[in-house]
Symmetry: C2
Subunit: 339 residues, 2 copies
DNA sequence: AACCCTATTTCAAACGTTTGAAATAATGGC
DNA sequence: GCCATTATTTCAAACGTTTGAAATAGGGTT
């Protein structure tokens, strides 16, 4: 049952007693090839299950039809959902996707990048690791003429590059506004790691929503944390430190972190726990199972972010957009009210 | 800044005024090449940032150093975690991984398979879709001499193939035994879709644990569901239908389904809800946030399953194991007690 | 039947590597 | 200084495609 001679153009040509080029052109539907010849070739190809060798084609065409994706990890649903968007558009356009996780380590990111460079990817989509400060390993792609699109996590806003971002300003603005409209005036903001541009836009959205609705801002209602649970608890303790002036609502930069916060507040028997309404970024499916769920979620539309990233990348690959002409695409968030 | 002439062996050879083969051999550290020559070549290669063209190498070597992975989706943490294992071992051995989601649709799975075949992957790791009954699209790999390892979800147990599976029998046995040891005698079993081999081993584990510990089996305590919430609720209603004879514990085939079950039981104000102890397969990170969490989880060690799958595949690729000599690897589960 | 189109097929080079065989250079023995 | 080794480098073919240019075949026209 196992076929030992690999089915190549040459093999088909010999079987059909014609030249390799005729076979190639017949399969690629060249107009100069006789209709009957085409038919014969195509039939034989189907019969023998001919599959063109991509390496040979890539070598000839000087491209790989592979898109590289480097991202921190696949456990974060934001990233896995974004891959759905990337994969779909890529496949539609005949591209394969190689995904590589950096696990938020620079060393691993460099290794991934080099591996993808060797594979001669036609383009790269990156969400950088937390440790990434230097971009040599990513810049080398552009030096070789391979376009790079940064998505979500990207070099500080000053550095010019192609980027596709969730509109976290708008997302946070709408969440804050929603809480204000529900009557809250004491809305706390729980931000993420300061070093990344994780939190800057979100915070501005919060601030602007307060301002636009004449709700006074209080520095006491702002705290920062990261992905560590203990730090989140510390931040929450801080926000609720003054018993005469505790928040009645909370906006958080990421949902699992918000869950930690809620859990702590509940366990600490905060007197008005039931009244506190909260919103975080993410719209995690597990919200359904929480007893004290956030009142709403800021849906970041990761599929759409991924889709926009690959669409931009494809336009850079086809040179429809010049690589030097740096693009910035914003994808709006959507407030999803639960229950 | 952008380099236009691609850096190839030829280019290096011209710059160094030597032949292409010398350059190639110098870079590959051939013993016949003079040490000084090697040094000069390697320095120049580094300086010009030479990156060998993988397509050319693949063409020459008749292999791609790419492993294809086809799985239902990336939203299930079992699969994303298994990828961690696959990726790690693959990278260590110089292989790239192309992941393709079938979204549990046969048509998409066929498309993915064909795409990977064109890419001349050196091997394939598959978790089949729910719809897959016919295996022509996967068998063609083996016909071309490309080994295929099925993992987790695999053709019915009769069909011979290479497979790596979680030991769900043992997992379910231990969970049931654990509940018995905690004094339960009325333990319900909530199984998954019957058509897949999803549930067969699990159920046997449950049965054997009861038998080995002289706990009587009752058909009333067995119900089946799938990933649909309504069906789960219906199943739970059934299990708890007889008010004189309600289960005090529950073993479920998958965790998110168990969460649906718990949620329903809680909302239905079952009199002894607080006493009910439950265990499901998965060990989902979100358990931390549940108010009425399962007492334990059956950790399926997906990373290890992935690792075993790729390790087996690599041995098939190197022909250390003959493709015809079908292997079956079982990965034990681990009971993780919470709190 | 010589000629010219047009339709169709084939030639041949190229893509960037690898590698066994052949060629050349360097070394040492005498 | 010549020959035989050995060390080192180069040649040339191959991997499986694509594609412009060249060749050939098949008809018509006259």
């Amino acid at each position: 049952m196992m076929n030992n001679t690999p089915i190549t153009l040459k093999f088909l040509a010999e079987k059909l007693k014609m030249s390799v080029s005729t076979v190639s052109k017949a399969l690629n539907n060249y107009p100069t090839i006789n209709a009957y010849t085409k038919q014969r070739v195509q039939e034989m190809a189907r019969e023998l299950n001919f599959t063109p060798n991509k390496s040979a084609i890539n070598l000839k065409e000087k491209k790989s039809r592979i898109i590289g994706v480097v991202l921190p990890n696949l456990l974060d649903h934001f990233f896995t959902r974004s891959i759905d968007g990337i994969e779909q558009v890529a496949t539609q356009n005949g591209y394969n996707v190689i995904i590589s996780q950096s696990h938020d380590e620079l060393a691993k990111e460099i290794q991934s990048a080099n591996m993808l460079l060797r594979s001669r990817v036609d383009g790269l989509i990156v969400a950088i690791s937390k440790q990434t400060q230097d971009f040599a390993h990513l810049n080398q792609f552009e030096h070789m003429g391979i376009p790079v699109v940064y998505y979500t996590r990207n070099p500080s806003f000053n550095l010019s590059c192609h980027k596709v971002l969730g509109n976290t300003f708008q997302g946070c603005y709408e969440a804050t506004k929603f809480l204000i409209e529900r009557g809250h005036t004491k809305i706390a903001y729980l931000g993420g790691p300061k070093m990344t541009n994780f939190t800057h836009d979100r915070f501005n959205g919060y601030i602007h929503a307060l301002k636009d609705n004449d709700v006074p801002f209080s520095a006491k209602f702002v705290a920062y944390t990261d992905f560590d649970k203990e730090n989140t608890i510390a931040a929450i303790k801080n926000l609720f430190a003054d018993p005469d002036h505790t928040p009645t609502a909370l906006v958080a930069f990421k949902e699992p972190i918000l869950f930690d916060a809620i859990k702590y507040l509940k366990s600490s028997n905060h007197p008005n726990f039931d009244k506190i309404e909260s919103i975080g970024f993410g719209n995690n499916a597990f919200i359904n199972y929480l007893d004290s769920p956030p009142i709403a979620s800021i849906e970041e539309n990761p599929e759409s972010v991924g889709e926009n990233a690959i669409k931009l990348l494809l336009r850079l690959i086809t040179k429809e957009i010049d690589m030097k002409n740096h693009q910035k695409v914003m994808v709006d968030c959507k407030l999803v009210v639960h229950g």
